[in-house]
């Protein structure tokens, strides 16, 4: 069943020389139990998309249009109070900046217990038991003692895991996890992703996973959406995307991946820099960096087109790309 449905989402911030178009018409859906990974260039609008779903962008200054539906309820037009209740109880969020999301003046135990007491009406003793259990489940040693510590007393990866504990504390229907494993070593990362998968199996939680880690994507995602300059430029199953991308940006991204089993002299990087979101070029936003660009690409913006096998690409020459990348 479709849990989250985003349609033609656009977000702009005011800028010194006109609006900064951070998100330019994103549409995607997440089903119960499904894991959709969002990949993409740094600055391409992944976090802003997540923040728009959570309703935590200040409006204004941000201008938000389009539609965000959770189980058939439109969130964007919902009154503040209802909106906050939904993003507090039905959607959990792991923020990219754990330090800013945790309150520095309260112990982490207090923060988790508070959520459980306010939202679930738990007694203090029950809330404490549950908080310890949650902190323990994200593999923090000596959870019973450490819940009395303040955020600054934890390592980067531990804070990230505290955020995860907080985000799953209310058993949300949908978890939005923005770079949840950037500070985690591979062993803990595997355990945390397994914990999320377990919750998904038990409760059907949908997972919108924003990450740069292609290894994690390959291990856990069902489907993948690739973002560039505020748009989704490619969508497909994880197998489809890794076996042969249908967009030149994805192609370049996969080629940039360092390998653990060998050492290359120089890493491949896509040449050039992403376009200025305040002054997007005409035509395809990737054309200045694209080795396959033709005249058509300089003038016509390629829409996200459906391809066979239920995948999609926003490239005029997707057939050529597929032909070259299929293995």
């Amino acid at each position: 069943m479709t849990l989250l449905e985003i349609a033609d989402l656009r977000v702009a911030f005011p800028g010194p020389s006109g609006p900064v178009n951070a998100v330019n018409g994103v549409s995607l859906g997440v089903d119960s139990g499904q894991t959709l990974a969002i990949l993409g260039e740094s600055g391409s609008g992944k976090s802003v998309t997540a923040q728009a779903v959570m309703g935590i962008l200040d409006v204004p200054p941000a201008t938000i249009t389009g539609s965000v539906r959770l189980r058939d309820r439109e969130l964007l037009t919902l009154p503040r109070k209802q909106r906050d209740r939904i993003s507090g109880e039905e959607i959990g969020m792991v923020f990219q900046d754990a330090m800013a999301a945790l309150n520095p003046v309260f112990t982490v135990g207090h923060q988790i217990m508070e959520v459980l007491r306010v939202r679930r009406g738990m007694s203090k003793a029950d809330a404490r038991r549950r908080a310890i259990e949650l902190v323990d489940r994200v593999r923090i040693p000596a959870a019973k003692d450490r819940i009395r510590d303040y955020p600054h007393q934890f390592s980067g990866g531990m804070r990230q895991r505290i955020m995860i504990a907080l985000a799953i504390s209310l058993e949300p229907d949908l978890l939005i996890a923005d770079e949840p494993t950037t500070a985690l070593d591979v062993t803990v990362q595997a355990q945390v992703m397994e914990l999320l998968a377990e919750i998904q199996r038990d409760s059907g939680m949908g997972l919108l996973l924003i990450t740069h880690d292609l290894g994690v994507v390959a291990e856990v995602a069902d489907d993948v959406a690739v973002m560039y300059a505020g748009r989704i430029v490619e969508r497909g199953t994880v197998q489809q995307i890794f076996a042969g991308p249908a967009h030149p940006y994805t192609e370049g991204l996969l080629a940039s991946m360092p390998r653990v089993d060998r050492r290359d002299e120089q890493l491949y990087a896509i040449p050039g820099a992403p376009p200025n979101p305040a002054r997007l070029p005409a035509g395809c936003p990737f054309h200045l960096r694209c080795p396959r660009a033709t005249d058509e690409c300089l003038v016509t913006l390629p829409p996200l087109q459906a391809l066979p096998a239920d995948r999609a690409s926003a490239c005029h020459h997707h057939e050529e790309v597929l032909g070259a990348t299929q293995r």
Binding site: P141, D145, D185, A221
Partner: protein, 329 residues
């Protein structure tokens, strides 16, 4: 410049213990042994990668290397200076020569300063480095180097940037004064792999041109492999194995290193679930009460009685390992 035998930074038996609050007020609950006796040399122009489990003490070590944290004991030596004892003019000189890129790109940039102000600050603290009139030009160059457009970004505030953009601003700031040593704590973890490749290539190019040495802390073992000359593996506050990149990756000798390498996710969904991962038994032990003898013994599949009573030392040499029964090389 290739790495030389010249030591730029010498780390001697470095220890950091944090007191923890006890259950009973005013009675100490013991100490978190975040870093517990770490020694190594960093050579001029080399890159030492540091890897290890979350919470094993990497960031604490990094902060001590640059004097942001006082060690409980031990010393970091740079030339004739001891980092934590330096004051006044000596301290200022050290601050210029040893830079850090902090793990958290959100809290390490002052939210009330524009990027222009943040990047000009190092030159205001060290005015003799560059003529005032050339500074703006220089910070534009720096932004360009890390792949950010100066015309677009210079007069914005940190919260108006994405995570990866902020991380690159931190790198530009560390590069500003042409230091001898840059301690990078997870410098590329918030970047997509293409920008990450750009930054890693940039760091390598600067090293070749300027001979700067890096301590490169990252959880991504592929990136560490790519950039490092030598790699140090840390477990619960101690180094358990150090060695040249190729030896350590191709022939790990400590059981923890081999478990770590086996857990690297392979970026290929086709092989999902078929990989041979060494799953570590049990939970990571608490740094307040580390296990006796070898700290890894509670999760080691080769542990014997000796491991519980005798701590294996990290010997000297090219590829030392702190284990009573090292894996065959």
């Amino acid at each position: 410049m290739p790495p030389s035998d010249d030591v730029v930074l010498r780390v001697e038996n470095l220890v950091k213990h944090f007191p923890v609050k006890g259950r009973i007020p005013f009675v100490s609950g013991g100490v978190v042994k975040a870093v517990d006796g770490v020694s190594f040399d960093l050579r001029r122009g080399e890159t030492l990668g540091v890897v290890g489990e979350s919470g094993c003490g990497k960031s604490t070590l990094a902060r001590m290397l640059v004097g942001l944290e006082q060690p409980t004991s031990g010393a970091v030596r740079f030339g004739r200076s001891v980092v934590h004892q330096a004051r006044g003019r000596e301290l200022r000189a050290l601050r210029r020569r040893i830079q850090i890129v902090l793990q958290d790109p959100y809290t390490s940039l002052n939210p009330r300063r524009t990027i222009r102000e943040i990047l000009l600050q190092p030159f205001e603290i060290h005015p003799d480095v560059l003529d005032r009139r050339r500074r703006v030009e220089r910070i534009k160059e720096l932004l360009d180097l890390v792949g950010l457009d100066p015309s677009l970004h210079l007069d914005r505030y940190p919260h108006q940037f994405s995570g990866g953009q902020r991380q690159r601003i931190g790198i530009a700031r560390a590069l500003a004064l042409n230091p001898d040593v840059i301690v990078c704590d997870e410098p590329v973890s918030a970047l997509d792999v293409s920008v990450q490749a750009q930054v890693v290539n940039l760091l390598e190019r600067l090293q070749e041109e300027l001979g700067v040495a890096y301590v490169f802390i990252a959880h991504d073992l592929s990136v560490v492999r790519h950039i490092s000359d030598r790699v140090a593996v840390m477990y619960l506050g101690k180094l358990v194995e150090t060695g040249p990149e190729i030896d350590l990756y191709e022939a790990p000798r400590h059981p923890y290193t081999s478990a770590l390498l086996s857990a690297v996710p392979v970026p290929d969904p086709a092989g999902r679930g078929e990989r041979k991962r060494i799953l570590l038994a049990g939970d990571p032990p608490s740094p307040v009460n580390p296990p006796s003898g070898c700290r890894f013994r509670t999760r080691c599949w080769q542990a014997t009685d000796t491991c519980a009573t005798t701590e294996p030392p990290l010997a000297a040499g090219e590829h030392p390992v702190a284990c009573h029964y090292p894996l065959a090389a």
